[in-house]
């Protein structure tokens, strides 16, 4: 597995590929409107893998689904989402379908149910190829990546035979053995790991600049997980894609990601470079998470869990959402919301009482 890619440049030196500002999502439920995201600020830079970590209710999936506008009519989205400086939230349906698949692609958690059970693998991957290759010809200046120039040349005017060949090539690229035979298979005939590779191949068909992977390995065995993560990292290097990796598993983040953002109850609580974050987690929630993990590489005498439970979205406390469970809570934390502030060292934290120094356990 590749190491985190190089030293990060200072923010001022890079243009973000994706900029999310003050993203707020409300859901229309039978119990009324409930806020799921409370003003999320996030940036993804070209060529990096950003980890988005959180537990249930953290809003990590909602954030990305909002970017892709996959939340459906019952969600009200506010804020700014800029992709290559182009605002996405105001795009009409047609504009959005052009972005999806060809510029920003997304893969999901349970690969076998994310594939249509009555279509063959070949048909579904070819659908992606035809869809997103055709769009390449519509906006050639927007989607030519530095490294994929000649691939795009091949993709122009992709029809039946050429599309099928491209499909086989994609399946091979993601490591599916005997890709020609797999064309006629159905999703239920393949294993979870294979289906996730199929999903990845569909996502890559349009050479997107940004791949969003929503818990891509959670439903898979650990040896398959290792394979898939290694594949994703390798493809990132080959294709220069940025990746948002959504996961609840901090260990996966440590091994795969360059930067990481930690979310709790619909907000980002801490964000920064992975090495620095793990060495010195400043937000009490991040610290708590890391301290509660059992380790495979050594025996720990005792686990140090975070006491209490995650509050439901409609029952959030007035001040900081983590305050009821926080061992370092101050009086102010009960009354006010800490804002996400970025320091000079590029660490962003939303906390009135951040902890410095390494962890005790």
């Amino acid at each position: 597995m590749s190491e985190p890619g190089g030293k990060p440049l200072l923010k001022s030196h890079r243009e973000p590929l994706l900029h999310i500002g003050g993203l707020t999502v409300d859901f229309d439920t039978p119990a009324g409107w409930i806020r799921g995201l409370h003003g999320v600020d996030l940036e993804v830079y070209p060529g990096e893998i950003l980890g988005l970590v959180g537990e249930s209710g953290s809003g990590k999936s909602v954030t990305c689904m909002a970017v892709m506008r996959l939340l459906g009519p019952r969600a009200r989205i506010q804020g700014d989402v800029l992709y290559r400086k182009q605002p996405l939230l105001g795009l009409d349906a047609k504009g959005m379908t052009q972005i999806r698949g060809s510029e920003i692609a997304m893969i999901f958690q349970d690969p076998t149910s994310s594939l249509n059970p009555v279509h063959t693998i070949g048909r579904q991957v070819t659908e992606s190829v035809v869809l997103n290759a055709a769009q390449t010809t519509l906006n050639p200046s927007q989607t030519i990546g530095e490294q994929v120039g000649d691939a795009v040349e091949q993709q122009r005017g992709l029809t039946g035979e050429a599309a099928r060949d491209e499909t086989v090539r994609l399946l091979d690229r993601v490591g599916i053995p005997e890709p020609k035979e797999r064309l006629r298979d159905y999703p239920h005939q393949l294993s979870g790991g294979m289906n996730q590779r199929v999903m990845i191949s569909m996502a890559l068909a349009g050479h997107p600049r940004l791949l969003i992977a929503d818990e891509p390995t959670t439903a898979l065995d650990v040896t398959i997980q290792a394979q898939i993560l290694e594949l994703i990292c390798r493809l990132r290097e080959d294709m220069g894609m940025s990746i948002i990796l959504i996961t609840h598993d901090l260990a996966v983040v440590a091994e795969t990601c360059d930067r990481v953002a930690v979310m709790y109850c619909g907000r980002i609580v801490e964000q920064g470079n992975v090495e620095e974050m793990f060495a010195e987690p400043r937000h009490p929630y991040t610290r708590g998470l890391l301290e509660s993990l059992p380790r495979i590489d050594r025996q720990v005498a005792k686990l140090y869990p975070i006491e209490g439970t995650v509050p439901a979205p409609h029952e959030l406390p007035l001040g900081c959402a983590f305050e009821p469970r926080c061992p370092y809570a101050l009086k102010e934390c009960k009354l006010n919301q800490p804002a996400l502030e970025t320091g000079d060292d590029e660490r962003a934290i939303a906390c009135f009482n951040p902890q410095f120094g390494g962890m005790e356990h």
Binding site: E55, A254, S292, D297, I306
Partner: protein
């Protein structure tokens, strides 16, 4: 492969008295029909193909493996939820596989389980306090007021406050539900607790709470546990000895530290190397297994792992390796590990 032939201490703890649970060459095959319905070819799925292990009193044995390895079937075999195709399960010196349902009822006091889905395990229409009292009522233990006291005490000790007692399962969080399931399992003070992925469905920050609780309870109640999980980090933390299963067979069985620090079987090594560690920049040797595990319907001849094994040699295809002891006592089923290549 019986316990007698390889010496009891290698299978389970100090030899003071019989182990609480002895499983000997347990097998469970499923008959499947191939394509064609009634007229299709009959095919055998060897979910569990001859496993042998023991669990000493007060010990926690972990069973790990990936999907399809047979660990859940193994748990169900021990609990008699599924009848074995062959082999024996001996509990407290008594053969229990194939017992009649009425004999089993008495045994249920001694053997309880906690499975993965706490919501599914609880009756949605009963208050949780009633669900924990129910086993006492069924087995006619104590007077009503004694029962109330016992249940209240146990619910407190699993970390549930009074206000939760009168609630229904859907009104509790995942972690709270699993505590209720635990309380219900322990109210009868069983000797053996079988856990199958007890924390996988819970949030990460809650997992540690429940694991700590299990740890504390088994110490206090001197529980013997069979702990089945795919999460090896948790298994390392809570188990004394660990068995690694692959395609229906145990490929390695050793003390926790020995297994994790110096795994003897190539599959164990690959499995351990695949697990990510929350320490960026840690240099690790990654063993990548190619492809998917073969189907348990048509496993490879000889050693089942040989098709993905980086160390495979010709003898691996010819003979199935036996689970036997290395010099340090670790049990391994591998020709190469025993120098039989």
């Amino acid at each position: 492969m019986s316990a007698a032939s390889t010496g009891e201490h290698q299978f389970g703890g100090p030899a003071n008295g019989r182990p609480l649970l002895e499983v000997d060459d347990l097998k469970r095959y499923f008959q499947l029909r191939g394509k064609g319905g009634l007229f299709g070819k009959k095919v055998l799925l060897k979910a569990v193909d001859g496993i042998t292990f023991t669990v000493a009193k007060g010990e926690t044995l972990g069973i790990v493996g990936e999907s399809g390895c047979g660990k859940t079937t193994a748990a169900r075999l021990v609990l008699n939820m599924v009848a074995p195709t062959s082999g024996s399960v001996v509990f407290n010196g008594r053969e229990i596989s194939g017992l009649s349902p009425s004999d089993w009822r008495a045994l249920r006091r001694e053997m309880q389980y906690v499975f993965q889905d706490p919501l599914g395990a609880l009756d949605p229409r009963m208050k949780i306090v009633d669900q924990v009292i129910e086993p006492l009522v069924i087995h006619k233990i104590g007077t009503p007021s004694e029962r109330q006291d016992k249940v209240a005490a146990l619910l407190h000790s699993v970390g549930l406050k009074d206000y939760t007692f009168g609630r229904y399962p859907h009104e509790l969080s995942g972690g709270q539900r699993q505590r209720v399931v635990l309380a219900r399992a322990l109210i009868l003070e069983p000797q053996l607790l079988i856990c199958d992925e007890p924390v996988s469905a819970l949030d990460v920050s809650i997992q540690a709470q429940v694991i700590n609780l299990l740890d504390e309870l088994r110490g206090r109640l001197n529980l013997t546990m069979l702990f089945i999980s795919h999460d090896l980090s948790i298994v390392r933390h809570i188990c004394d000895r660990v068995a690694v299963m692959y395609l229906g067979k145990i490929v390695e069985l050793a003390d926790g530290d020995a297994l994790f620090d110096s795994p003897a079987h190539p599959y164990t090594r690959a499995l351990l190397s695949a697990i990510p560690v929350p320490e960026p920049g840690l240099k690790r040797e990654r063993i990548f297994l190619t492809g998917d595990p073969p189907s348990p319907i048509d496993p490879p001849s000889g050693c089942r792992f040989r098709t993905r094994c980086p160390l495979a040699v010709p003898v691996c295809a010819e003979r199935t390796p036996e689970l036997k002891a290395l010099k340090n006592g670790q049990l391994v089923a591998c020709h190469v590990a025993h120098g039989e290549a």
